[in-house]
C-alpha cells in the first residue's frame, strides 16, 4: 500500500480539525486584533458541557447543540465582563488577559468532576457504523463528520465576512475602531459577536475532538496552542487561511511522521518540522499565506 | 557640491505607474517646490529620494552618493532629512524625546560606553540635550516639550515633524506638506521657519505644498507633477502661467489664485 496518499489523507482529516479550532481564533483576531490564548479552554468547556449532558442521558446531537449555545453565551460573557474594559489598551495587555482567562477557566473546570481524569463520548449510532475507504485508507464516520462540519462552518464564515454587511463591518472594526464608531458601529457589539461566534465554533471543535481522541482537560485545552502555527501560516485574519493552514500543518505533521521519523533517531519530528517550514514560509510571505499585508505608506 | 539629481525615475506598483520618467535637479541652497494634484506622485518621489521606495528605473544622486538603492537610514546618514506628510512621529514619546532620537547619528560612542554611561556617553548626552532644546526654542515648541506627541493637536504635530527633521542637522530637508491643516497665520510662521532654515543655515529645502500662495512666494524653482509625470518646471512665474498646470491643478491661473478671492456667499 502506498504511504503517501494515506499520509496526505490523514493530514487533511486532522488538518480540518485544526482549521475548525483555528476558526475561533481568526474570528476574534479579525474583528479585534486580539489573540485569544483561552481558546483551548473554551474548546474544552464546550466539549465537557456536551459530555456532561450526554452523561445525563441527553441525545448526543442535542447535547452538542446546547454546548454550542452555551459557549456562544460564554464567549459573549467573557467579552462583556473582561474584554470590554480593555478596548484601547495596549494589545499585549489584552493578550495577557486571555492568558489569565485560560487559567481562570482551567480552575473553573477543576471545580467540576471533569478537571482531572479522562472521559470519552458514547459514540452515537450514526457515527459508529462502518466508515468509508479512501485511497485504501479507512476513514471513520466520526472523521468524515469532523471534516464536513469543519468545512461547512468555515465556508459559512468565509461567506459572512466577504458578503454580509455585518461581516464587512467586523473587518472594518479591526481596521480602525474609531472610524467604525464614527459611522455608528457599536464596537462593543461587534466584539461580543465575534467572541460569541468563536465560542460556538469552539464547542463544535471540542465535541469533534472529544469524539476522535477522548476528553481530557489537558488534551482539549492544549489544542489552543497547536492552533497558533496554523493561523500564522494561513494568515491571522483569514478564514481561508485557517483552512489551508490547518490542512498544511496536518499534512506536514503526517509527512514528517511518515518519512522523517524513519530517518531521525527518536523521531518526534512532527513536533518541530511544521514550525521549521512555517518560518521558511513566513520569510517569503511575512503575513502568512492569506493574511492581509499591513498597508504602510509614508 | 551636493546637488540632488533625479534622473529618469520610474516607479511602478504592480502595473500602476506612480512615477514615469521623472527628472529634476535641486541646486544647493535653494528652495524647490513640487506641486501637483493628489495622487500625482509627489510623496512617492520623496519616498524614492529618502529610500523608502526604490525606483523601478532611473537614478537618484546626492553629491557623490547614489540614493537609488539606499535604505532610509543610510540616506539619512548622507545628510538628508524628511518631514512626513502623514505624521510619522513616535506618538508615545514626548516632543523632546522625539527630537533626541533625531540626534542618533550625531552621537558617537559605543554600546560599551553606553553600558558604563559615566564619562563619554554622559557628556555627549548632555551636549545633545542642549542642542535639542535650542531647536525646541527655535520652533516655538516650549509649551509642549514634555507632552506625549500623540496627544497634541494635528497642527502642532506637523510642527514637531519639521522640528525633528531639522534636528537631524541635514544638508537637504524634504518637507511633505508641512503646512497642511494650518491657518494663514500659522502658515506664515512656518514659512519663517523654512526661510530661516534655508537662509541662516544654508540648508537646501524641497517642499511639497498645496497652498500655491506659499509656493509661489518662497520657491526658487517649482516642479509640477501630474499622473506621475513631470509636466512643468521652472521659476514660479513661469510655472504659474503654464496652461497645463492650470488645467491639471488649480483650475485658475496661479497668479490669480495668489490674489485674494472675493469672499461672499
Amino acid at each position: 500500500m502506498d504511504l503517501l496518499p494515506q499520509l496526505l489523507l490523514a493530514g487533511i482529516v486532522i488538518g480540518s480539525i485544526y482549521a475548525l479550532a483555528a476558526l475561533g481564533f481568526v474570528l476574534i483576531y479579525k474583528s479585534s486584533r486580539v489573540i485569544n490564548f483561552a481558546h483551548g479552554q473554551i474548546i474544552a468547556t464546550g466539549a465537557f458541557i456536551a459530555f456532561a449532558l450526554t452523561q445525563r442521558g441527553l441525545n448526543f446531537w442535542l447535547a452538542g447543540l446546547i454546548a454550542m449555545l452555551a459557549t456562544f453565551l460564554l464567549g459573549m460573557l467573557i467579552e462583556r465582563v473582561f474584554l470590554r474594559r480593555m478596548v484601547g489598551e495596549p494589545i499585549i495587555a489584552v493578550i495577557m488577559v486571555t492568558i489569565g482567562l485560560s487559567s481562570v477557566i482551567d480552575g473553573l473546570i477543576h471545580l467540576t468532576p471533569y478537571g482531572a481524569g479522562s472521559f470519552s463520548f458514547q459514540t452515537p449510532a450514526v457515527l459508529s457504523g462502518q466508515g468509508i475507504e479512501v485511497f485504501g485508507t479507512p476513514l471513520s464516520r466520526t472523521q468524515i463528520a469532523g471534516v464536513l462540519a469543519a468545512l461547512g462552518l468555515l465556508g459559512a464564515f468565509t461567506y459572512f465576512f466577504n458578503k454580509s454587511t455585518l461581516g464587512i463591518t467586523m473587518r472594518a472594526v479591526a481596521d480602525d475602531q474609531m472610524a467604525a464608531m464614527s459611522v455608528g458601529t457599536s464596537v462593543e457589539r461587534v466584539f461580543a459577536l465575534a467572541w460569541a461566534a468563536a465560542g460556538l465554533t469552539a464547542a463544535a471543535a471540542g465535541v469533534i475532538l472529544g469524539l476522535m481522541s477522548g476528553l481530557t482537560l489537558g488534551g482539549l485545552a492544549g489544542i489552543g496552542l497547536k492552533v497558533f502555527p496554523v493561523v500564522i501560516l494561513g494568515g491571522l485574519d483569514s478564514v481561508i487561511g485557517a483552512i489551508v493552514g490547518g490542512m498544511l500543518i496536518g499534512i506536514l505533521e503526517n509527512l514528517s511522521a511518515g518519512y522523517l521519523d524513519a530517518i531521525v533517531p527518536g523521531g518526534g519530528t512532527r513536533e518541530v518540522f511544521p514550525f521549521i517550514v512555517l518560518i521558511a514560509v513566513l520569510l517569503i510571505r511575512p503575513y502568512g499565506l492569506f493574511g492581509t499585508k499591513e498597508i504602510e505608506r509614508v | 557640491m551636493p546637488q540632488l539629481h533625479v534622473e529618469n525615475v520610474t516607479l511602478t506598483f504592480g502595473g500602476l505607474n506612480a512615477l514615469t520618467d521623472v527628472s529634476l535637479t535641486v541646486p544647493e541652497g535653494e528652495i524647490v517646490s513640487i506641486i501637483g494634484p493628489n495622487g500625482a506622485g509627489k510623496t512617492s518621489l520623496l519616498n524614492c529620494i529618502s529610500g523608502f521606495y526604490h525606483p523601478t528605473r532611473g537614478r537618484i544622486t546626492f553629491g557623490e552618493h547614489d540614493l537609488s538603492r539606499a535604505a532610509p537610514n543610510v540616506v539619512t546618514g548622507y545628510g538628508i532629512a524628511r518631514a512626513f506628510q502623514n505624521l510619522e512621529l513616535f506618538r508615545g514619546l514626548s516632543v523632546v524625546e522625539n527630537l533626541l532620537l533625531a540626534r542618533h547619528t550625531h552621537l558617537r560612542y559605543s554600546l560599551l560606553d553606553s553600558l558604563v554611561f559615566y564619562g563619554r556617553a554622559s557628556r555627549r548626552e548632555a551636549e545633545n540635550r542642549a542642542y535639542v532644546e535650542r531647536i525646541v526654542d527655535f520652533m516655538e515648541l516650549e509649551p509642549h516639550r514634555t507632552h506625549p506627541v500623540g496627544t497634541l493637536s494635528y497642527g502642532i504635530q506637523k510642527r514637531v515633524e519639521v522640528a525633528r527633521a531639522l534636528t537631524l542637522a541635514p544638508r537637504l530637508l524634504l518637507l511633505d506638506e508641512p503646512m497642511a491643516g494650518m491657518n494663514v497665520e500659522e502658515k506664515e510662521d512656518m514659512v519663517r521657519f523654512i526661510l530661516d532654515i534655508q537662509r541662516e543655515q544654508g540648508i537646501t529645502v524641497v517642499l511639497i505644498e498645496h497652498d500655491l500662495g506659499v509656493v509661489m512666494d518662497i520657491s526658487d524653482r517649482v516642479y509640477v507633477l501630474d499622473f506621475g509625470q513631470r509636466i512643468a518646471g521652472g521659476t514660479p512665474a513661469e510655472v504659474g502661467c503654464d496652461p497645463r498646470v492650470i488645467e491639471a491643478y488649480t483650475g485658475v491661473a496661479a497668479a490669480e489664485a495668489a490674489q485674494p478671492q472675493a469672499v461672499g456667499a
Partner: protein, 357 residues
C-alpha cells in the same frame, strides 16, 4: 543652592546633566542606602523558604529585564525567553562539568551563548512583524525543547548536575544554599539592572524604543531598524542566559522542564503585570507573580484542609489557577500599564511633595 535637599519641589535644574541622574535628591539617595542595607540584611530576617522565593524572584527578574528589552522596549513579542534561559543553563552546565570552569566564568558564558543564539533567532525579525514574529520565538522554544530531548550530550533533557560552589572558603550546602546564592544573585541582578538603566539613557536604548513605536520613522532618524532589533535580541537573550546560568546553579541541576513553554508564558506574565517597558516593573512583576502563587498555595492548602466542600468538587486544586488567572485578569483590567504605573504615580507624588499639584 538647592531649595531643599530632600524634596524635588522648588529645585531648579540648571544643567542638562542633572536631568540624567537617577537618584536626584538626598531623600532618594538616602532611601537608596537604606534599601541597600535592608537588602544586605534580608537573609538574616527572612525564613528560609521565603528566602528561596526571593532568590527565585531575583533570577526571574534578570530574565524579565531581558524580556523587557525585547518585548517591552523594542516591541518584539518573545514567547521563547525560557528557552533562552535554557540555552544559558545548558551552556553553563557544560562549561562547569565538561570544562571544569568556575561559576563566575560559566555563568557569563551562559549569557554569551544565549546571546549568540538569541541573535540568530532574532534574524527573522528583519522581515517579520508583531505576532508573526512571536511565532518565530515560539518555534525556537519548541525546537529547543525537541533538540535537547534528542541530544545525548545534554542527557536528553534529564538532569545534568552542577558541582557545588565554593566562595571564600564557604561552601554551598543544603543548609546555607539560599543565603549563599542570595549574596551571589543580588549583585548580579543589581549590576544587570544598572547596565540596562545606562543603556536606556543613551542612544542605543532610545533606538530600541523608536523602533517599537515607529520603525519607519526610526529609519528616517538614521537608525537601522534591523540592527536595533538584533541588538534587542542580543541583549535580551544575554540577560536570559545569565538568568539561566544562575538558575542552573540555584537548582543544582539542569532539567529540561525548567525551561519549557509554560515558563516562557509565566515570564511574559511577569513582564506584563510588572509593566512592559519599565525597569521597576521587571522587579515588581516577578515579585507579584511569585507572591501570588505562594498566597494561593497557602489558601488552597487551608481550604483543602477544611472539608468545606462536597467530595468531587476539588476546590483546593481549582483555587490556584482560578485565583491566579483572576488576579492577573482583574489586575490588567484595572491597571493595564502594570504595577510600574503605581510605582510611577507614587514617585510622582513624592516628587511634588509636599504640594499636591
Amino acid at each position: 543652592m538647592p531649595a531643599s535637599r530632600f524634596t524635588q519641589t522648588g529645585n531648579y535644574r540648571t544643567r542638562y546633566a542633572q536631568d540624567q541622574t537617577i537618584f536626584a535628591t538626598s531623600a532618594e539617595q538616602l532611601s537608596l542606602i537604606v534599601l541597600v542595607l535592608v537588602l544586605l540584611a534580608l537573609p538574616l530576617l527572612l525564613p528560609k523558604t521565603l528566602l528561596r522565593d526571593v532568590n527565585l524572584i531575583m533570577i526571574y527578574a534578570v530574565a524579565v529585564i531581558g524580556l523587557n528589552v525585547t518585548t517591552g522596549y523594542t516591541g518584539l513579542i518573545n514567547i521563547g525567553q525560557a528557552a533562552f534561559m535554557g540555552v544559558g543553563a545548558y551552556a553553563t552546565a557544560l562549561a562547569a562539568t565538561r570544562l571544569n570552569l568556575p561559576f563566575f566564568v560559566a555563568i557569563p558564558l551562559g549569557g554569551v551563548a544565549a546571546a549568540l543564539i538569541g541573535t540568530f533567532v532574532g534574524l527573522p525579525s528583519l522581515r517579520l512583524k508583531y505576532l508573526y514574529l512571536a511565532v518565530a520565538t515560539l518555534a525556537f522554544q519548541i525546537i529547543f525543547e525537541w533538540t535537547v530531548g534528542h541530544l545525548p550530550l545534554l542527557q536528553q533533557g534529564g538532569a545534568i548536575s552542577l558541582p557545588a560552589v565554593q566562595v571564600f572558603g564557604i561552601r554551598d550546602t543544603f543548609l546555607n544554599h539560599n543565603r549563599f546564592w542570595y549574596y551571589l544573585i543580588l549583585p548580579v541582578l543589581v549590576l544587570m539592572a544598572l547596565l540596562w538603566r545606562n543603556v536606556l539613557r543613551t542612544k542605543y536604548g532610545r533606538a530600541l524604543i523608536a523602533v517599537r513605536d515607529n520603525d519607519r520613522a526610526a529609519a528616517a532618524m538614521g537608525i537601522h531598524p534591523g540592527v536595533a532589533k538584533l541588538t534587542a535580541f542580543l541583549l535580551g537573550s544575554f540577560y536570559a542566559g545569565v538568568a539561566g546560568g544562575l538558575f542552573a546553579y540555584f537548582q543544582k541541576a539542569v532539567v529540561i522542564e525548567d525551561y519549557g513553554l509554560h515558563i516562557s508564558v509565566q515570564l511574559l506574565a511577569m513582564a506584563i503585570v510588572g509593566g512592559l517597558g519599565s525597569l521597576p516593573g521587571a522587579f515588581l512583576g516577578p515579585l507579584f507573580i511569585v507572591a501570588l502563587d505562594r498566597g494561593m498555595e497557602v489558601l488552597s492548602q487551608w481550604l483543602g484542609g477544611q472539608n468545606l466542600f462536597p467530595e468531587g468538587v476539588d476546590v483546593a486544586t481549582a483555587l490556584r489557577p482560578l485565583a491566579f488567572g483572576l488576579t492577573i485578569v482583574l489586575f490588567l483590567m484595572f491597571e493595564p500599564r502594570g504595577l510600574a504605573n503605581w510605582w510611577r504615580l507614587s514617585r510622582m507624588y513624592f516628587k511634588k511633595w509636599p504640594y499636591k499639584f
